[in-house]
């Protein structure tokens, strides 16, 4: 029954600060997704929790017990790397038995239990195959079964779906969550796929350059991103640069490029402060005719990309800014052609205001 706690964990590799002062808790039975780009430190963090990497500083606790002097093999935390690391010289069932046998469990007993678990992941018919005879999805399930068989309650998954086709990934992420829940596992799952993280994580944690940016439920992080980086990384977001013009008790007005004005309901910034306004792409409404409303801007349609659930329209506003809007494909906007004049508008309460970043907006959106 592991609850995991990290207290001020740091790790450097030479001059690179891979992890900086990482502190967070994972509750027993929780499914936590760690989200970050290549080089964000997410794999290092996972390996540090498993004990493969020793932190330079800080403490890692499993059920309130400090793991400092506990060897990797005694932590009972199973690490599943992105490549799954199935043992190529062992059959599926031998792979699944590896953990129990290493811990001195009787061979027959181990085999019986392994078969049960293979049934659970629907691979009992492939028990005597070798890993290279299995498809990617099957290999992923063997890795999972191998972890469960070792009697662990803590799974550390590094991009468990990363090696699979995009379509299969959608299918298997649901299954992954199900298996974890049914076996009462605590899972820490590392990924760079925001949708994957949001759809299966009880909570998600966003990591950038070895620092935690935010941690919370998907809904919370989506609705209240703590900074520009998170707002960009989670969801699809437009950013508009501007300066606060006026503010009153109900909101503020902002002057954006080209002298245009928009209204937002943020009141935390004072006049003349440079700010960035964030608006989700799906919250921007697009019109094929001029309209009269608050927060309306006009421009030319420069892109229309069909995504299935949505069509993503790109509009070059008259002030030169480019905004994107997501619309369901059944709307009457489908007659629009590239180059057509369009109007966009958005609600004041769908905006979020951030301080203008010291190093500029572009730099702030980069992962590194």
């Amino acid at each position: 029954m592991p609850a995991i706690q990290l207290r001020d964990v740091s790790k450097r590799f030479g001059d690179t600060r891979a992890l900086e002062s990482i502190s967070f808790d994972v509750k027993d039975g929780e499914y936590l997704c760690i989200l970050g780009s290549t080089g964000s430190g997410k794999t290092t963090l996972l390996r540090t929790i498993s004990g493969i990497i020793k932190p330079d500083q800080g403490e890692i606790l499993y059920d309130n017990k400090n793991m400092k002097d506990v060897a990797v093999e005694d932590r009972n935390a199973v690490y599943v790397p992105q490549t799954y690391a199935l043992f190529p010289h062992l059959t599926v069932i031998e792979n699944v038995c590896f953990g129990p046998i290493s811990k001195g469990v009787d061979l027959n007993e181990a085999k019986n239990r392994a078969l049960q678990i293979l049934k659970l992941v629907k691979l009992d018919k492939r028990a005597n195959s070798y890993p290279n005879e299995l498809s990617g999805g099957m290999q992923q399930r063997v890795a999972l079964a191998r972890g469960i068989a070792s009697n662990t309650k803590l799974l550390l998954l590094d991009e468990p779906l990363g090696a699979l086709d995009a379509r299969l990934r959608l299918e298997l992420r649901v299954e992954l969550k199900k298996i974890a829940q049914e076996n009462g596992l605590t899972v820490i799952h590392v990924t760079h796929d925001q949708e994957e993280a949001m759809s299966i994580g009880d909570r998600i944690m966003i990591l950038r350059k070895g620092r935690i940016q935010q941690i919370g439920t998907p809904l919370h992080v989506y609705l209240s991103p703590q900074n520009i980086f998170v707002a960009n990384f989670i969801g699809n977001t437009n950013f508009i640069e501007g300066t606060i013009l006026k503010r009153n008790t109900r909101g503020s007005s902002i002057r954006i490029r080209g002298g245009y004005q928009i209204m937002v309901d943020d009141t935390s910034h004072v006049a003349e402060e440079p700010v960035v306004t964030a608006i989700r792409e799906e919250k921007i409404k697009l019109f094929d005719h001029p309209i009269e409303a608050k927060n309306t801007l006009s421009g030319d349609l420069i892109g229309a990309n069909f995504l299935g659930t949505f069509i993503r329209y790109e509009v070059k506003l008259d002030n030169g800014d480019i905004l994107a809007a997501l619309h369901p494909p059944n709307s009457d906007l489908t007659k629009l052609r590239l180059g057509d004049r369009v109007a966009i508008s958005f609600e004041t309460f769908h905006t979020k205001i951030f301080d203008y970043p010291v190093l500029g907006l572009k730099r702030e959106l980069e992962a590194y």
């Binding site: 780009s37 290549t38 498809s135 990617g136 999805g137 099957m138 086709d165 995009a166 379509r167 299969l168 959608l170 299918e171 760079h192 796929d193 925001q194 949708e195 949001m198 759809s199 299966i200 439920t217 998907p218 809904l219 989506y222 990384f233 989670i234 969801g235 699809n236 989700r280 792409e281 799906e282 919250k283 409404k285 892109g303 990309n305 069909f306 995504l307 299935g308 659930t309 949505f310 993503r312 997501l326 619309h327 369901p328 494909p329 992962a367 590194y368």
Partner: protein, 369 residues
Amino acid sequence: MTKVRVVSLTKNYGDIKALKQVNLEVEEREYLSIIGPSGCGKTTLIKLIGGIVAPSSGEIYIDEQNVTDTPIEDRNTGYVFQEIALFPHLKVNENVGYGPLVKGEDREVNRRQVREMLDLLSLEDQASFFPVELSGGAKQKTAIGRALASGSKLLLLDEPLGMLDLKIRNELRYELRKLVKDLNLTAIHVTHDQEEAMSISDRVVIMKAGEIVEVGTPRKLYIHPSKIFTAKFLGEANFLEGKVEKIEGNYYQVNVSGNKLIALGEGAVLKENEKCVLAIRPEYVKLNKKKLNEINTWSCYVINVSFIGSTILYNIITDTGKKLTTKYILTENEPDISVGDKLYATLSSEHLLIYDYPHEGLDKALDLE
């Protein structure tokens, strides 16, 4: 004009039939994507077009010239590899200039071509970097630049964005389409990412087990897929087995475990009393607190809610025990629905797709591996 035409193209690897009698035409200046699960033959097809692999039988035409026996180096295609495969011993500008160099291009001309290409891809600052010093996105851009600098009008892209982080992938895909359109190129793009394929292509080819399942515009394939596998692979869908009870014009009345569903089956050829499969995209199943409608409406309970940004997925179970996924699009504020709520689900008639019951069985027909 047709840019690429493959006729009855077949490729066997020993006993494995990677490609079975495939016919395909790609128009000049078209952006065509080929998608399908791993092992469907999409990579084999593009390798055959590029000349990297020789076909077992069939013909390939580029610009109406039969190139079936033309070696790769004489096909003049710009090929971008999944592995990116930048020459590690050459700098960015040398990689991009490799094509002109081996064709014996004058040094001055070469230098100019390279400079133009780097400008176009905004890689000027990294011209003298070695590939190991580049980020994933810059590597990919260099590979595209290298393929284009040789002057080819046909770009073959074999999972070009597969090695990149999702966020960068999504940005680069739009740049890629823009580049192809601006330079009047023809592009054939292989991917396993359905959203990538739909978002940038004029037409999409769906493949399965060495054969083409369906070809069409992204919109057609997503909204009116003719084949059940297309409905499965491109986007998500709920599938329901049933039996045709009555046919009135284009409307089919289908019995799904005792419940009646009406589906608009344009172009479907089913007879009464035949087994069939209904499919519906999650976003066309609407949830309501009250029963607003009698037709196609089931009472249900919410069993799971997952929030994924622009949309929310609700997993529901109907009174008759059917599990469905529904998708709510968050153009407004999020609705007040939570696990355990009793609701009514309406399956929109014009979005209910109807198919023959597959002879190989439903599971097999929808298998992704």
